[in-house]
């Protein structure tokens, strides 16, 4: 069952204070932060090199779209969740990606992670 799954999560979030909370929440849920990135460059490197099960990806990194990270995750066939403050225009092929809207509840975080994992397992 999903409740016992321990996930290794790549956390990409440019707002450090928010990143701190998300890291805590992931730990609270029993998951592990496999890596954290706050810039696009760092995220690209970590998405390509680290071992993880799912990525939490901020759509907007210091004013830049995180699309290059998406390309890497898709190539590695790793599931991911978008986190965003507002409903920015998403391309049609990414409409299926689960979205976590900030601010959010701990339950929402768990739900989207499970959703992302399940989609990938199909």
């Amino acid at each position: 069952m999903s409740t016992v799954t321990v996930l290794r999560v790549l956390l990409v979030e440019d707002e450090s204070i928010v990143a701190m909370m998300v890291a805590d929440l992931l730990e609270e849920l029993g998951h592990v932060v496999a890596g954290a990135a706050s810039t696009l460059e760092d995220a690209v490197v970590k998405a390509a090199s680290l071992e993880f099960d799912v990525a939490l990806l901020d759509l907007n990194l210091n004013g830049r779209q995180s699309k290059p990270v998406v390309a890497i995750l898709q190539r590695r066939e790793l599931p991911f969740v978008f986190t965003t403050g507002y409903g920015s225009a998403m391309t049609a092929e990414l409409a299926e990606v689960p979205v976590l809207r900030k601010p959010f509840l701990i339950g929402d975080l768990q739900d989207v992670l499970q959703q992302a994992i399940k989609k990938e397992g199909r």
């Binding site: 990143a19 701190m20 909370m21 805590d24 907007n60 965003t84 507002y86």
Partner: protein, 473 residues
């Protein structure tokens, strides 16, 4: 019986009444001696009143009138005089004055109907000319593009000057996209990204009698330029309802559309910032509450952090979220702790503009340093002071901010037993946001916090305030 056999009186009377026009005759003394029934009707006076009377006695005003002069002149010159004049009783008449005996014969012919017809025709033509001139002036003056066609296929479309300008055609050119192949303009119309076939354009539809109101069309030129037009076309019909053509008006709403797009972008941006700020507040609340045992203390800490965030927003708002003054960020952060005693803080360094993200991170960091100093450090003693010094350094052509927070005169400080939100923010959050390094030392004379961070060049921070570009959140 022949005419010659009639008696002269019957003959005269027959002729007199047979003329069918007002007729009278006067002798040399202007005495009226012939006066027919038509004359009686014309002047409104019966023959019984007129015969034997002098003309000037009956119409005394005429002596001094143009009519009187014409009559006297004819009497003198003994010639036939013809002309047109206004009769003494009102209507326009054509007159024929001819010598008769030693006097004059006068035949009048009422031409007022003809005059009225001519007048109303002149009036109608005048009105038409005025309307045409008005319409031309309006077409020339209005800031709206207007075009006309007078055939159901709209093969020939004439425009006003504004429309020619808008369509980038020489004034007087046929603007029709359904006109003769060789002379068609090269612009095209699009709707929702799809090209609109020429026969489906508002003008072409209106010329067929179809409705075409308030359509938003994109006008694209060969060189790639685009304009947004609001177009309305109506069918022109004659009195019987038959289609005569169509007229269309177009307003250039490009600027309005750009403005609306810009507004939408601003709203999205605002929404993003609000949600982002709420996430930060959520994070602060979460971390404050989980690390504080005492609810009263947790509340106080949360409020302090919220206020620090709010003040950083104030500083940024003043500069339209494009940059903030480092000096102002520091002053705002320490002001709740500086109190009236300005000796507690020694702040020195060149003022410089920092990006929004740096400003927020530094504001939150200084708040944590202040709160800690009040609770455990230099500001917990009456004599303790805090120095905040910074300078801008050049390293390999890049600018570096080197800032030091130094507490003096406080109690002896040791390593904290527990790492709370404050130290986590300073040691992990701040370096991440500044892409620099932060060294926090709990030294014996007091806390020292060294911050080193690369600073974006002037060109990156100094954003043109007139520019519509939206800075990254």
């Amino acid at each position: 019986m022949t005419g010659a056999e009639l008696n002269p009186e019957a003959l005269l009377s027959g002729i007199l009444e047979g003329i069918g026009q007002p007729f009278y005759a006067v002798d040399r003394e202007w005495r009226i001696y012939l006066y027919n029934q038509d004359a009686a009707r014309h002047f409104g006076q019966p023959a019984s009143r007129m015969l034997g009377r002098r003309l000037w006695d009956m119409f005394p005003d005429d002596i001094h009138h143009e009519r009187g002069r014409i009559l006297r002149d004819a009497m003198e010159r003994r010639t036939t005089v013809k002309g047109e004049a206004v009769s003494i009783v009102g209507p326009w008449v054509s007159y024929c004055l001819f010598p008769l005996g030693d006097g004059l014969g006068v035949i009048l012919h009422d031409v007022s109907d003809r005059y009225r017809a001519e007048e109303s025709r002149d009036e109608a033509l005048g009105a038409l000319h005025r309307r045409t001139a008005e319409l031309e002036a309006v077409l020339e003056m209005i800031p709206t593009a207007v075009w006309f066609t007078y055939d159901p296929l709209a093969r020939q479309i004439v425009t006003n000057r504004r429309a020619a300008e808008l369509l980038r055609l020489p004034f007087g050119t046929n603007a029709s996209l359904t006109g003769p192949q060789a002379k068609r303009p090269t612009f095209r119309f699009y709707k929702g990204g799809q090209q609109v076939p020429a026969t489906d354009l508002p003008m072409q539809r209106a010329a067929r009698g179809e409705e075409a109101t308030d359509e938003v069309l994109e006008l694209r030129f060969e060189n790639g330029d685009r304009k947004i037009l609001l177009v309305r076309a109506v069918t022109l019909r004659d009195a019987a309802g038959a289609i005569q053509g169509a007229v269309a008006a177009a307003a250039d709403v490009t600027d309005r559309h750009r403005y609306e797009d810009h507004l939408r972008l601003l709203l999205d941006e605002l929404n993003h910032r609000v949600k982002n700020t709420l996430a930060i507040v959520q994070s602060i609340a979460y971390q404050t509450l989980r690390s504080s045992g005492d609810p009263a203390e947790a509340r106080q800490r949360f409020e302090g952090r919220l206020l620090a965030l709010s003040k950083a927003h104030d500083v940024l708002t003043r500069e339209r979220w494009q940059r903030a003054s480092l000096r102002q960020v520091i002053d705002e952060a320490i002001s709740p702790y500086a109190g009236t005693d300005s000796q507690r803080f020694e702040v020195s360094g060149p003022d410089l503009a920092v990006p929004p993200k740096h400003a927020l991170a530094l504001a939150m960091a200084f708040h944590e340093l202040c709160a800690n100093a009040v609770k455990h450090g230099a500001l917990s003693r009456l004599t303790g002071t805090v120095g905040v010094d910074w300078r801008l350094e050049e390293r390999d052509g890049a600018r570096f901010l080197s800032l030091c927070w130094t507490e003096r005169g406080g109690p002896l400080v040791g390593q904290p037993t527990r790492r709370g939100f404050g130290s986590r923010l300073l040691e992990h959050g701040l370096p991440q946001d500044l892409r620099g390094t932060v060294r926090l030392e709990f030294a014996a004379p007091g806390v020292i916090c060294r911050i080193e961070a690369p600073m974006p060049g002037e060109t990156e921070t100094a954003i043109d305030p007139e520019s519509n570009a939206i800075p990254p959140p």
